[in-house]
């Protein structure tokens, strides 16, 4: 019976601080204030059909998808180079890539303002060549930049760790059998690294789709995401019912996303490329 004793604190804690709070969110999402207490209602969800809110949800999706794709496109080559190199400085570089994560992310993001504002460092630099000041901040591009900046290491690391496990002899074998470097990459390296890419995607996409700070800082208040609206419902408007409904929407997005990632992972494991190498 010792095992039960060890697990009791976790059971209690999970019930009180994980399951119960989520049930409260569900309860608020499906009720509304009425004269006689609360009553069951789908009002909060029907408000979501408002084109403004639909637009915000779509925009959150668009920015998160673009940021995740940019992270893959920029992060994959970096992870590949690091994993394939035999250089002694490799481990120092890996540590250098992780180090920024220990610095407060708000400060690092605010620091971009100094670089990007209208009279900021980048514009001052460009003006030396006679380029007119460019407005970076307050655009969706700036929000994507802030997101990529914050989550790029989360994409590089899982891909790097997966690629480290790739045996050089498999690459040699493929080359011996007549594959050119491009074919070796497409048929051996890429399929092998799919699980790494997927775990990178899950570490980047979920925080990007739900962020509200990065959009506030980089978007100068012009770019509203679903996270910003939730924050406003609880902090400014005090409409807990609508805020909870939006939280339920986010939970559905996250759950659906996790489901697809898991399925992709299983498929990658059963697929020909990955399977052969394991």
């Amino acid at each position: 019976m010792k095992k039960n004793l060890c697990l009791i604190p976790l059971y209690v804690w999970s019930a009180v601080f994980i399951v119960f709070p989520l049930l409260i969110v569900l309860y608020y999402a499906f009720t509304r204030d009425a004269s006689s207490g609360m009553s069951l209602s789908f009002e909060s969800f029907s408000r979501l059909a408002d084109p403004m809110y639909l637009g915000v949800i779509l925009r959150s999706f668009k920015i998160a998808v673009i940021a995740t794709l940019v992270c893959i496109l920029c992060g994959y080559p970096a992870a590949y180079i690091l994993a394939r190199s035999n250089s002694r400085s490799k481990f120092i570089i890996v540590i250098l890539m992780l180090l920024p994560m220990w610095m407060n992310f708000l400060l690092r993001t605010y620091s971009w303002l100094t670089l990007l504002e209208k009279s900021g460092l980048i514009n001052s630099f460009l003006s030396l060549f006679g380029v007119d000041p460019i407005i970076f901040l307050g655009t969706e591009g700036a929000v994507v930049l802030g997101t990529v900046y914050n989550y790029l290491p989360f994409m590089i690391m899982p891909i790097y760790i997966t690629l480290l496990k790739l045996d050089q002899s498999h690459l040699d074998a493929a080359a011996d059998l007549g594959a050119n470097p491009f074919q070796v990459f497409m048929k051996v390296t890429l399929p092998f690294s799919v699980p790494g890419v997927l775990s990178g995607v899950s570490m980047v996409f979920v925080p990007s789709v739900t962020t509200f700070v990065i959009s506030q800082i980089m978007g100068s208040g012009n770019v509203t995401l679903i996270g910003d609206i939730i924050e406003k419902q609880y902090r400014v408007v005090n409409d807990w019912h609508f805020g909870s409904a939006l939280s339920v929407v986010i939970m559905i997005i996250v759950l659906a996303f996790m489901y697809f990632i898991n399925r992709g992972d299983v498929e990658a494991n059963n697929g020909n490329g990955g399977r052969l190498l394991r």
Partner: protein
């Protein structure tokens, strides 16, 4: 590495460090406004020590991080040990316990805020601490469970055959095996707690701020150079710890290689 690869890695590092470099340089800037360089100064470092709101938020962050990591480590390690001992997959309780790690932080924060408010707990240090423990537990389980699954239970039985009480054989035999995982879990929790903004934002109140919230509130009036000074110091401390840890590890590695050669 080939030249092109080196350039690319250099570019990625430059991208990651550009804002950090800007921040550090401006912590020595005599002018208060960003974008203007008025000469070198240590003033902000001196004023940092006198700035009460920054220092108190720093204490709050450290105390909350330490306590949260401690409690989470105890609960998480016990759970990992219990799961390994039961030799079942325990996938149900695990997937519930991992929810705060996988779910969107904003939902975790909001749901905890609703819980505290409904139960009449005043938002403040205590509620923030409870929330931090909640999102730290999964990281501890993640760090300890692999170690716990590798435990050799026959040693535990052998110790008891030789006259140890179950408690004593746990502390003598099992605990030392788990210790590296427990330490990793503790440090992971500490980092997570110190860096957290979103969950703290929803679960604290009453003027109790951690560093992230202090920075967020401050930014509305413009970031003070003192905070640049503080983050420069923190960055230097972490860099030093990492260098010392790695030099130590490298030395151990060399010793091992040497002894193998001998």
């Amino acid at each position: 590495m080939k030249k092109l690869s080196k350039c690319y890695i250099g570019l990625v590092l430059a991208f990651l460090y550009l804002p950090i470099a800007v921040l550090m340089v401006y912590s020595f800037n005599a002018s208060k406004s960003r974008g203007v360089w008025k000469g070198f100064t240590f003033d902000w470092y001196r004023q940092l020590l006198e700035n009460e709101s920054i220092m108190s938020s720093l204490y709050t962050t450290l105390i909350c991080g330490f306590l949260a990591a401690l409690v989470a480590t105890v609960i998480g390690s016990m759970a990992a040990y219990g799961i390994a001992k039961a030799k079942s997959k325990s996938s149900f309780i695990l997937s519930v316990a991992y929810v705060p790690m996988l779910n969107a932080e904003i939902v975790t924060g909001v749901s905890l805020m609703l819980l505290f408010t409904l139960f009449g707990l005043e938002l403040g240090f205590f509620t923030m601490l409870l929330s931090h423990i909640t999102f730290c537990i999964p990281y501890v389980i993640l760090a300890v469970l692999p170690k716990a699954r590798q435990l050799d239970w026959s040693l535990y039985d052998a110790a008891q055959d030789l006259g140890c009480t179950p408690m004593r054989s746990f502390w003598k035999i099992m605990f030392p095996e788990l210790l590296p995982g427990i330490l990793t879990g503790f440090l992971l929790s500490l980092t997570m707690s110190i860096d957290d903004f979103i969950i703290s934002f929803f679960t604290t109140g009453n003027g109790v701020n951690n560093l992230s919230i202090e920075i967020y509130t401050m930014a509305k009036r413009g970031i003070k150079p003192e905070i640049n000074a503080l983050s420069t110091i923190m960055f230097a401390v972490i860099l030093a710890i990492l260098i010392i840890a790695n030099v130590g590890a490298a030395k151990k590695d060399n010793n091992k290689k040497r002894s193998v050669r001998i």
